[in-house]
Structure formats: structure tokens, C-alpha cells
């Protein structure tokens, strides 16, 4: 008489199965966005980034997909100056230093892109929303179009790079001109042939673009005011909205444990379900169950040694169990 069956850990349990799961990075698992929205007032007076939404203002279901903005080592384009003679928070400078501290090795304070000798003082950035990105962006599977004519299409060169640079922020790939529209990355201009347009940090979901290149190729108007708010992040957003195409995937490593629940022919053929019996004496509701009982499995409960229910799985439809039938149910538990 038993209601629990012990697992044989040698044969019934497969632990720590690691699987890489990729999916569309945007809300509801969408793989691409073709329309981009911001909040009407956000970033209009200060700050140097805007949150980008998938739906228009007023739609209660809209969610932040990513943030885009502008950062400057010297603080160009934001109020405040180095001599502290004017009010202002120097947001562009603060953001540049933050990105440098987070992404660059210690002792390096400016971004330098492949095949460019001088460091870049000004950058544009795209930072994926944490809830969209989850664990990391999927290298080689994103494309960002800029300008209404889509003449600037950005991808990373992970497909061409066998040894990505690994620094403080994890893997780093070059941002290059290309497209993934055909299903595989097609690079129009490599980093070795014309220089990288920026850096891509897949483990952090951050794309850093060289502002000087973007000004030329994507026609972004970058006024570099000293102690003046230029709203440059809006200019960058306009080019993203004009390009109307941002495709990306996210990656997650899921660790699973499989439990094989084996119900042998002689097991689990009776039920404590109140409809299984009738009256107070425990007699079967169905007379045909005497000598040949039938039960249905709908739930599998995973327990610890003290009979505490730790996990529960359900079948989509009841499975018949009897003395002439056995069942093996594989229960997958993701962590």
C-alpha cells in the first residue's frame, strides 16, 4: 500500500541538462520592431537618452523595448561645464564615463573602435531593456536600420570572428555594415576594410556606435554645445524610427532536470478521488472496477523526503492506468 514511489537517481533522474533557448527579443517574443515610440516629454529638457516603446503613447499594453541616446566624454550637448560655473548635470559626460567604466578595461577611459587610431569622444548607444533581453542578446542575429532610406544597416561581425575580444564586459564584437535579411549575416563592409562602426556587447545587450561615423553615414545632426542641451538623443531616435527596422533575438541558458516517473502495471491502480468510491464503506462507484480497477493520471507531484510537494506537473489530457497498462512520464523541471 503506497502512494509515493522513490526515484532511483541512477536511472530515473537526469540532472543539469543545459539548453540554449533563443527567441525574439521584443515584447511577446517578437523578433523585430518596425514602429518605434517614445514618451512625448521624455528627454526634451534634459537627460541624454530616451526609452523606446513598441506601441504609441496611451496604449496601456506598451512596454519599453530599449533605450537609445548620446554620450560625450567632454559633456557636449548637455547643461553644465567642467568649471562648475553653470547649473546642469552634464548627463552626456556622466553616461560616457559610466559606459567606459562598465565596458572598458581598467585604465581605459575612451572607446576606440577597430581600425581607428584615435579614441571616440562621442558615442551613440542602444541598451536593451533588461526584461526583454533576459540573459543576453544573440550575436549574429540582430540588425538595426537607420535613416528613412535604410541606407545604414548595422549588424555585428560575430559570424566572421572566431575569437571575439573578451574584456571586462564579456564578449565584444565589431558593429559593421550588413544585413541578416537573407537568414545569414551578409557583411557589406568589414571592420578590417573601413573600420568598425561601433562595438556590440551581447552579454550586456549594449550597442555602442561611433558618433562621428553616424553623423556622416546616418545624417544625424550632432550639435556639440558646451553647456547647452542639444537633445541629440532625439536625433538618434529619429533615425532609428526612420529606419523602421530593428530585428534581434535573445539567448538564455536553461538548466533542466528530468524526472522519469514510472508507473508499473501493478502500481497506482486505485484512487482516493471521492468519486472513485460510493458510500461510507469505500466501495467502488463502478462495479466493473472490482478485480480490474481503472484510474486516470492527470497530475504528477514531485516530493521531498518529508512529503512536501515541491513541484507539480499536469498532463494535457488524462492518461488511463490499469493492471494491464504502464506509464512512463518524463517531467522536466527548469531552473
Amino acid at each position: 500500500m503506497a502512494q509515493y514511489t522513490e526515484f532511483d537517481r541512477e536511472t530515473d533522474v537526469v540532472e543539469n541538462q543545459r539548453v540554449i533557448v533563443s527567441s525574439g527579443i521584443f515584447s511577446a517574443g517578437a523578433g523585430s520592431l518596425t514602429a518605434f515610440y517614445t514618451s512625448s516629454l521624455q528627454g526634451n529638457q534634459s537627460a541624454s537618452f530616451v526609452n523606446v516603446y513598441d506601441k504609441a503613447e496611451g496604449d496601456a499594453t506598451r512596454e519599453v523595448q530599449f533605450a537609445c541616446g548620446f554620450a560625450s566624454f567632454g559633456g557636449s550637448g548637455s547643461l553644465g561645464n567642467t568649471t562648475k560655473t553653470a547649473t546642469g548635470n552634464r548627463e552626456t559626460a556622466a553616461l560616457y564615463r559610466q559606459f567606459a567604466n562598465v565596458l572598458l578595461p581598467p585604465g581605459t577611459d575612451k572607446f576606440t573602435f577597430t581600425n581607428f587610431a584615435s579614441a571616440s569622444e562621442d558615442i551613440f548607444f542602444v541598451v536593451m531593456n533588461r526584461a526583454r533581453q533576459r540573459e543576453k542578446m544573440d550575436p549574429g542575429n540582430w540588425e538595426l536600420a537607420l535613416t528613412a532610406t535604410k541606407n545604414v544597416r548595422l549588424i555585428d561581425d560575430s559570424g566572421a570572428t572566431t575569437t571575439p575580444t573578451v574584456n571586462q564586459a564579456g564578449r565584444v564584437f565589431n558593429v559593421v555594415s550588413g544585413s541578416i535579411a537573407s537568414g545569414t549575416a551578409a557583411t557589406f563592409r568589414t571592420a578590417a576594410n573601413g573600420g568598425a562602426l561601433g562595438n556590440f556587447y551581447p552579454d550586456l545587450g549594449i550597442i555602442i556606435l561611433d558618433a562621428a561615423h553616424m553623423e556622416g553615414s546616418a545624417s544625424i545632426t550632432t550639435t556639440r554645445s558646451t553647456n547647452g542641451f542639444d537633445n541629440t538623443q532625439r536625433e538618434f531616435f529619429k533615425q532609428i524610427a526612420g529606419g523602421a527596422y530593428f530585428a534581434a533575438r535573445r539567448e538564455e541558458e536553461v538548466t533542466s532536470t528530468m524526472y522519469f516517473c514510472r508507473a508499473n502495471n501493478k502500481e497506482f491502480n486505485f484512487s482516493n478521488n471521492p468519486t472513485f468510491t460510493t458510500g461510507s464503506a469505500g466501495q467502488f462507484t463502478q462495479a466493473t472496477f472490482e478485480g480490474d480497477p481503472k484510474t486516470y493520471i492527470t497530475q504528477i507531484g514531485l516530493y521531498n523526503e518529508t512529503d512536501e510537494l515541491l513541484a507539480i506537473a499536469k498532463l494535457s489530457q488524462p492518461v488511463l492506468k490499469s493492471f494491464s497498462r504502464e506509464a512512463v512520464i518524463k517531467v522536466k523541471l527548469d531552473f
Binding site: 500500500m1 503506497a2 502512494q3 509515493y4 514511489t5 522513490e6 526515484f7 533522474v13 532536470t257 524526472y259 501493478k266 497506482f268 491502480n269 486505485f270 484512487s271 482516493n272 478521488n273 471521492p274 468519486t275 472513485f276 468510491t277 464503506a281 469505500g282 466501495q283 467502488f284 462507484t285 463502478q286 466493473t288 472490482e290 478485480g291 480497477p293 481503472k294 486516470y296 493520471i297 492527470t298 497530475q299 504528477i300 507531484g301 514531485l302 516530493y303 521531498n304 512529503d307 512536501e308 510537494l309 515541491l310 513541484a311 507539480i312 506537473a313 499536469k314 494535457s316 489530457q317 488524462p318 488511463l320 492506468k321 512520464i329 518524463k330 517531467v331 522536466k332 523541471l333 531552473f335
Partner: protein
């Protein structure tokens, strides 16, 4: 010629609240060692021995029933477990707990003793669905630690051959379910317990 059906049943499990709690605690507190099967959703009165298509269709209504997704509240799932008994069994184990639905007074403890008929249980799980109405103990000892723990829980389960309930002082009467389950047979009995208003409250 047909093809053999070689599909296996694979299902995804979710953690219960207790599972999440133990996983968060760490220190190997989360250790799955066994499994049980249940059929909470099934009504065996739908087993139709008069089905016009014959015996293969007796369970057709049950077998084609879509099943609700799992709940994370461990007290709301795995209530009716499948058990292993001899093939010659003609009567299912039943529990006798001596009382039916009961109203308890604030200053009087209630002791519930369980016995199994048509089977044998060496211990029982007593689960009180709402500890707002009473504290529960297997040995009748309500230590400060036991009370402090149950004050932070919504449901409480104790294991033993009997349980003692100590009603709490309430401004208004309140009811909860007490589920008693035989730990070998899985036989269950459920009663409603009500704690009456503490008469010392005049308003």
C-alpha cells in the same frame, strides 16, 4: 499498414510555493526524492459502461477532457492521490476522524484522532487551511516557536496520529478546512472547523 505510436509523455513541471521557498533557502533544502500521481480533475461517475461503441469507449468522456493548468498552491493540487493496492481489493481505505463539521470555542482545545478502515496508516497529515482560526499541534504542545511560525503561515500541516487545535481569539467567527490524510493509504477526510467569536469582545 500503420505506424506504432512511439510518442512519450513529456510534461513541464512548475515549482510550488513550498518548492520556491526551499529553493531560495539553499543549503540543499530542495531535494526531490519521490513522486506521486493524482486525479483531482476526474469524476469516475463519467465512466460509461453503457457506451454504444463498447468497452474501449467507457472512458471516452474522461480521456477527452482538457485539464486545467497547474496551480502553485500546494494545498490545492495533488489532493486525490492514486495508490497501490492488491488487485483483489474491493473496498478503498477510508478515514474516521470521529467528528464532523465543528464549532470551537476560544478557550477549549479540540483533539482529533484519525483511524483507517480497510487499510493501515501509521501516521496522518493534518492540514489546517487557515491558521487565523487556530494553532495546530501534533503532540498538544503549543510552544512559543510553534505559535510564532504558524502566525506567519496561512496554512499549517502537522504529522502524527492525532492533532490538537487551539482556537484563537477572534472578534468575529471564522471557518477553515481541516484535511486529514493517511500517509500510507492516502485516504482523506475533510471537515469544516469554525472558531466562534471570543465572548470577551463586546463589539
Amino acid at each position: 499498414m500503420g505506424f506504432l505510436d512511439n510518442t512519450s509523455i513529456t510534461v513541464d513541471a512548475i515549482l510550488t510555493k513550498k518548492g520556491r521557498e526551499l529553493l531560495a533557502r539553499g543549503e540543499n533544502a530542495f531535494q526531490i526524492t519521490k513522486f506521486a500521481l493524482a486525479d483531482d480533475e476526474v469524476d469516475y461517475n463519467l465512466w460509461d459502461t453503457a457506451h454504444p461503441n463498447g468497452s474501449s469507449y467507457y472512458g471516452a468522456v474522461i480521456e477527452n477532457m482538457p485539464v486545467l493548468e497547474a496551480f502553485t498552491d500546494e494545498t490545492q493540487v495533488m489532493r486525490y492521490k492514486l495508490i497501490t493496492l492488491n488487485k483483489t481489493t474491493t473496498q478503498m481505505p477510508t478515514l474516521n476522524i470521529g467528528i464532523g463539521d465543528t464549532t470551537m470555542n476560544f478557550d477549549t482545545n479540540t483533539v482529533i484522532t484519525a483511524n483507517t478502515t480497510n487499510g493501515s496508516d501509521t501516521s496522518f497529515s493534518f492540514t489546517l487551511s487557515d491558521t487565523d482560526i487556530a494553532y495546530i499541534s501534533a503532540d498538544g504542545n503549543f510552544s512559543a516557536a510553534t505559535i510564532a511560525t504558524q502566525q506567519t503561515q496561512k496554512t499549517a500541516t502537522v504529522t502524527g496520529t492525532q492533532a490538537t487545535l487551539q482556537p484563537r481569539s477572534l472578534r468575529v467567527a471564522k471557518s477553515a478546512k481541516l484535511t486529514v490524510e493517511g500517509n500510507n493509504t492516502g485516504a482523506i477526510s475533510v471537515i469544516t472547523l469554525t472558531t466562534a467569536k471570543d465572548p470577551s469582545f463586546t463589539t
